[in-house]
């Protein structure tokens, strides 16, 4: 089933790659450059899944998770951290903020698609 997914990353390459992979799997993909940008987009459109980078200017991924979880509409929506670091500290912070899970960069396309289907139930 088509899901609407937002990918949040300050690197255009990453947004494009995630977008390309997920659109190829039949999903609709929105893009945002950083946490603030994502909040702006999400105030106008709803999504089924948030995939966010951790290290970003303005508002990083952890803070984005925290702020989204504070909003009524985003209490139960899955949020995945897309991160290069298998750094347990960052993972712990992400978990504490309320993230659903993580995807390691670099990812294999089928891994990403599998993670997305699992978490969105599609």
């Amino acid at each position: 089933m088509t899901k609407r997914i937002i990918t949040v990353d300050d690197a255009a390459t990453m947004r494009r790659l995630v977008g390309y992979t997920l659109r190829g799997a039949g999903h609709e993909v929105l893009e945002a450059e950083d946490g603030e940008d994502a909040l702006r987009v999400l105030s106008q459109q709803s999504v089924d899944l948030v995939i966010t980078d951790v290290n970003m200017p303005k508002m990083d991924g952890i803070e984005l998770v925290r702020q989204l979880r504070a909003l009524r509409d985003f209490k139960t929506i899955p949020i995945l951290l897309l991160t290069t670091e298998s750094d347990p500290e960052k993972k712990r912070q992400g978990k504490q903020a309320g993230a659903t899970g993580w995807i390691t960069k670099p990812f294999q396309p089928d891994q990403l698609i599998a993670a997305v289907s699992k978490v969105t139930g599609s």
């Binding site: 390309y20 609709e28 987009v41 139960t76 978990k95 993670a115």
Partner: protein
Amino acid sequence: MNDDMQKQLIQDLVIESLEGLDAFDAGMLALEENSGDAQEHLRLAFRMIHTVKGSSGCLGFETIERVAHAGENLLSLLRDEVVPVDKPVITGLLRCSDALRDMMHRLESGETPDVVRHADLLQLLEGLQRSGKQEARQGYGFFHGAPGIPPKASSMESAPQGWGLFDEAPPAANEISIEASGEDLAVVEEAEIKEAADKSSQAAAGPRASESAIRVEVAQIDRLMNLVGELVLARNQILQLAGEKADASLIGPIQRVNLITTELQANVMKTRMQTVQTVWSKFPRLVRDLSLELGKKVALTMEGQETELDRTVIEAIKDPLTHIVRNSIDHGIEDPASRRIAGKPEMAQLRLRAFHEGGQVVLEIGDDGRGIDPAKILRKAQERGLVSSEEAGRMGDRDIVNLIFLAGLSTAEKVTNVSGRGVGMDVVRSNVEKIGGTVEVSSVVGEGTTIQIRIPLTLAIVPALLIACGSGRFAIPQASLVELVRLDPNNCARRVEWIDQAPVLRLRGKLLALFDLAKFLGFSGHATAEDAFVVVVEADGRKFGLIVDAVLDTEEIVVKPLHRMLKALGAFAGATILGDGQVALILDIAGLARRGGMVGVRKPFEAESMIEKHELESDGSERVRLLMTRVSANRVALPLEEVTRIEEISAGSIERSGPREVLQYRGRIMPLVRISDCLGEARTSGDASDLVRVVVCQLSGTQTGLIIDEIEDIFEESVRVERFGNERCIAGSLVAGGMVADLLDLDRIADFAGLKGRT
């Protein structure tokens, strides 16, 4: 993944990474200088390199990922204060960013980056990490189980599954929904496919609502600029037609098209503008590396980074500027010991400035180094036979110092590997002149050197002089224009003479080589001796005259690139379409000089160039070109250097703006100053049909028209200015052409006319 997508992703990666790496470098340098918030610089640098690592990893460029990863590791130790901020660490990180940059460039040109090239660097970075890690053992668990301590362990290996869910994490879909969707699959399939198609086309149309800036390819902007150029030309034709066969109902819309076109042109030009910062951002790094290498201490300051220039101009000045900065550090600035002995602070100052002045951009590179010794330059120039002793005697210090722009004059006592590479200041000058700019140096021994480059704002539209030759019309860029001389077969001073079958003109006591344009272009039946004009032009420091049939007009022309067949001739720089729709070729003056074998006089030998006002006022005498005019009974002289144009207007076209007399001139309002008022003379009365002669020049940066009664002549004289009284507006008296004349003080006239303090 298809090829286009792959290409697109790589292009994104390269652009994004190169920008990120520049920011990374800037952060490192700021960190080293201890300016600003160190943690902030580190955060930024960390994010940049992290992004490079992540993106390149995702695209499968493991080598890039590995180098970035090594840098990131070291950087994180720096961030956590495990490794101290010192020169070797910063140098290592800068080298890492160089390596990444290099790999990006390789990627861009289709190569696969290989790691062998950077094995040394990886080792170095590792070594630097190890130096700090010993102390870090217990304090921090950051690296536990993390990828990269041996750099070949990539993050993929350490996380084979690649993703995971946190325990007891809030949402996550449950098994039921998966089963449910499985059951319904067959039913909804068709509808879903349709929906998916709709949505994906929607997504492709505009997935990003919240972006305020977009990336546009430079080539796209160039195409746009080209189209606007075409539009301007079409507009000019319409305007001309409308003037001839005006249909009243069309005038309104045509005027609107006219205005919109002008505005469109201005705005498209604006999109091509880049700040000087684009070039300067490389300099802190360059200065750091060079001063380390040469053991000098240099503080770099930059002013006016936000000054904008057309990107073609930016492109063209990149190398000359870099060369000058290198030169300055290598030759200009002394080592700390010498500076101490000279009583100067050990830390030398290198200052870059950019600002607008009179429709041009001025770039200035100044140092407080040892300066250029004129005696040394002159000796060297004479040794190499570049200057005769007679010429040497006539040259002022300023002229001598400007000899550094001559080919084959390298003044460094020993050639170093920093700047003495056979690429000299002559290349700097020819590069700057290629884009219609000028370069000038001024220096005081022991105090420093300043090099000033003046360049036009844009290359796409240039002011040009239109001339006729044979049956064609040609444009000569104003930048290479020196003066116009009308030939008169009855006046021996204005007649073409022949030396060894080469035409020459006697101009103010000097022989000027002439170039017969008609002959060169293959036009026949053209009389060199009668009723022709000589356009004196200058290129590559060579001055010569072009014989043409008629001088037509000046016009702002839109430069169109030339077909390569014509380009190969080396005679034309481009083409343009004139207001009447006809095509005119733009002459390539430097090319013509080469084709015609013009051995002109090289610029610095003529002491007539670049004479400053204070030099005129001093007691010494200098050779200078003067425009001699008459105002009532006075003979009044102006330095020709200051004069832009001489115009004849009808008295009726003078209008008033407040207390000031003004003239609509080339689409702008130009203030007028009556020299008779400045001199306290009564105005000569006349009626509206009378012709008024106006000398156009720059007063305090404002284009101003000086009204005089008559133009008498141009002299090149060795003048000595003497002051008797203290008349306002007059710098003093001098003898030119055997008669006494008053030299105008343009600065005081600006004051008198209330033009000071305007911009």
